[in-house]
């Protein structure tokens, strides 16, 4: 993404871009900012202390979305520069206002940024972000969820030699540390569906019978489509493992009904039909998926790979809006 000279940008001043973003242009404004040179950005955020807190939230998210745009274009160094710029704006916001809304925004922004880093396998960056945030916000449950997910990701990305007692023990310790973070998050907010989901996943990996009740708790408290979808998927997986095939199909069907453009329920249902000796049904299901006109991003992928936390991103963007 080539930088655009200041003269070419015309009226797209920093404040104008923030205003565009805050009023709902959350697609084009970050793209325009992403084209700015570092010196101009640095000069612009020097003025961030004079902005109102609501505008500062918008400014921080403008930089964050610019970073998302740059990461998608594989311009990693500049993306990190914009994340740091957002962090500086948030520091100004905290210095000027210690209200609960500002603090919650700041805490959740850090949890989201950790997911941005994990999406690029930048584990150390994510780790540092979460450590810093937890020193300021030790009662923010989403930060514990993010840290637990990071622990899980470390296990997932490392090859574990199942013949090695040491490696298995290391994996088990990491999973237990993740579970402890999820339990802590639930302790702060018992209705946090994503924490129940993640705790259930760890329990399932540990062959712990509590997994099912974790997923049921997630489903009962889920308000986001992502969380309800994942809860049904995981309950389907548990039912399959326990050989409750009718229940598994019901759960996968429920997931498919919630997100008909997502791949995973079709794959899971086709597999069940094969196992039941019904290849014609498996073919029907597979064909239904392949002929879908609109396939959509499957939350399972981000959940499993440590991708962007889309729910947090949507919340942060909404908080950055000024009507």
């Amino acid at each position: 993404m080539p930088p655009v000279a200041a003269a070419q940008r015309g009226a797209d001043t920093y404040e104008a871009l923030i205003d565009r973003y805050a009023r709902g242009d959350q697609q084009d404004a970050p793209v325009l900012l992403a084209r700015w040179g570092r010196a101009e950005v640095t000069a612009a955020i020097g003025r961030a202390g004079r902005l109102r807190p609501g505008v500062q939230r918008a400014a921080a998210m403008l930089h964050t979305d610019a970073a998302v745009v740059l990461l998608a274009a594989d311009v990693t160094a500049l993306a990190i520069f914009h994340i740091n710029a957002a962090s500086r704006v948030l520091d100004e916001m905290k210095a000027g206002s210690r209200d609960a809304r500002a603090q919650q925004f700041d805490a959740r922004w850090h949890a989201f940024v950790a997911s941005v880093y994990t999406s690029r396998a930048m584990i150390d960056y994510a780790d540092r972000t979460l450590r810093d945030a937890l020193t300021s916000y030790s009662r923010e449950p989403l930060l514990y969820v993010a840290r637990g997910a990071l622990q899980e990701m470390r296990v997932g990305s490392a090859f574990v030699d199942l013949r090695s007692g040491n490696q298995i023990a290391r994996r088990d310790r990491a999973l237990e540390a993740a579970a402890a973070d999820y339990r802590r998050a639930i302790g702060f907010d018992n209705r946090l569906a994503i924490a129940h989901l993640r705790l259930g996943s760890v329990h399932a990996a540990q062959r712990d019978d509590r997994a099912r009740e974790n997923f049921e708790a997630a489903l009962a408290s889920a308000t986001e489509l992502r969380d309800r979808y994942l809860a049904h998927l995981f309950l389907g997986g548990m039912a399959e493992r326990e050989n409750r095939i009718d229940d598994a199909q019901r759960e996968y069907d429920a997931a498919r009904a919630l997100a008909p453009g997502c791949q995973t329920p079709y794959i899971a249902l086709a597999r069940i039909e094969q196992a039941l000796g019904r290849p014609d049904r498996a073919r029907e299901i597979a064909t239904a998926f392949t002929t879908l006109p609109d396939k959509t991003n499957d939350p399972w992928w981000d959940y499993h790979l440590g991708g962007f936390d889309q729910v947090l991103l949507a919340w942060l963007r909404a908080e950055a809006r000024i009507e």
């Binding site: 794959i267 899971a268 597999r271 094969q274 000796g277 014609d280 073919r283 499957d298 790979l305």
Partner: protein, 291 residues
């Protein structure tokens, strides 16, 4: 692959290989078809007849009714990794390899193209229209994570049930990162479906080895991207050199897993075939579908 003799004969009489599969399997008249590779010193052994093969089904010796070599058209499903790691030169070589394989197919052979990153995409359904597949090959790009197991499951579900010989050729250059399904589940499906699976890989992958073994296929290691075209063609040649054995099971229970062992009665050779086949238990109506 197990079929009703009567229905198989009816299907064989039809011109189009896309004829629908038998809806219901009637016990007592089934015939089992088995793709078998026979090589000696890496070279196909030719000229074998039914009398040359010794075959047991769940330990019970069976009489091989017929042996055909390369008589039926192939239905080839290309399952290609298009994740980020493939982008660049490797993708260019992969497209060339796919193009070469499609060019080597005969007019009545059919081919389908499935690509996968984290998303599994049926680019071209099973067709005799080879230019359409070539066009699709030249339009693929490399981006995303790797859902190999999910892709194989979907491709297995889409296998045609007809009188062609199904071959699945998988290419991947890395390990699975994002599938929903576990390895055992997909290997189990492969054992049930009866497709010969060949896999060309860059890195060692236990899953692909299990998959190929469970289907009577084999894995091929690419030491360089330039080798892909040669290996794709080798996989096709190997399939063409296979024998298709048919027999009517006798003295064995119908439902459940049937373990197969095939060898030559006289002479030494490497005989590769799927390790067995599965027949679903009869439903309440007294019939079940072929596996």
């Amino acid at each position: 692959m197990i079929r009703s003799l009567a229905i198989a004969a009816a299907i064989a009489a039809q011109a189009a290989p896309q004829a629908p599969p038998p809806a219901v399997f009637r016990s007592g008249i089934e015939v089992v078809e088995l793709d078998v590779s026979v090589t000696r010193g890496g070279q196909p052994v030719q000229g074998l007849t039914a009398r040359d093969f010794a075959l047991t089904d769940n330990g019970v010796a069976q009489e091989v009714d017929s042996v055909m070599l390369d008589r039926l058209p192939l239905s080839v499903t290309l399952v290609l990794d298009t994740s980020t790691s493939v982008a660049g030169d490797r993708l260019a070589h992969l497209v060339q390899a796919g193009d070469g394989l499609v060019s080597a197919l005969r007019p009545d052979d059919r081919v389908a193209l499935v690509t996968f990153s984290h998303l599994v995409d049926l680019r071209v359904p099973m067709t005799e229209d080879k230019p359409a597949v070539r066009d699709a090959l030249h339009n693929i790009t490399g981006l995303g994570a790797t859902a190999l197991r999910d892709a194989v499951e979907l491709a297995l579900a889409l296998q045609p049930h007809d009188r062609t010989r199904p071959l699945m050729l998988i290419f991947t250059d890395g390990l699975d990162t994002t599938s929903w399904l576990a390895e055992d589940a997909v290997v189990d499906t492969a054992r049930r479906v009866g497709v010969v699976i060949h896999a060309v890989r860059v890195e060692s992958d236990r899953f692909l080895e299990r998959l190929a073994e469970s289907s009577g296929g084999r894995t091929w290691s690419a030491t360089s991207d330039r080798q892909l075209r040669e290996l794709f063609t080798s996989a096709l040649d190997e399939m063409r050199a296979r024998y298709l054995l048919t027999y009517t099971p006798k003295g064995v229970a119908r439902a459940g897993w049937h373990e197969l062992k095939v060898r030559l009665r006289n002479g030494r050779a490497d005989v590769t075939a799927r390790p067995g086949y599965f027949v679903a238990a009869a439903s309440s109506s007294g019939s079940s579908r072929p596996r």
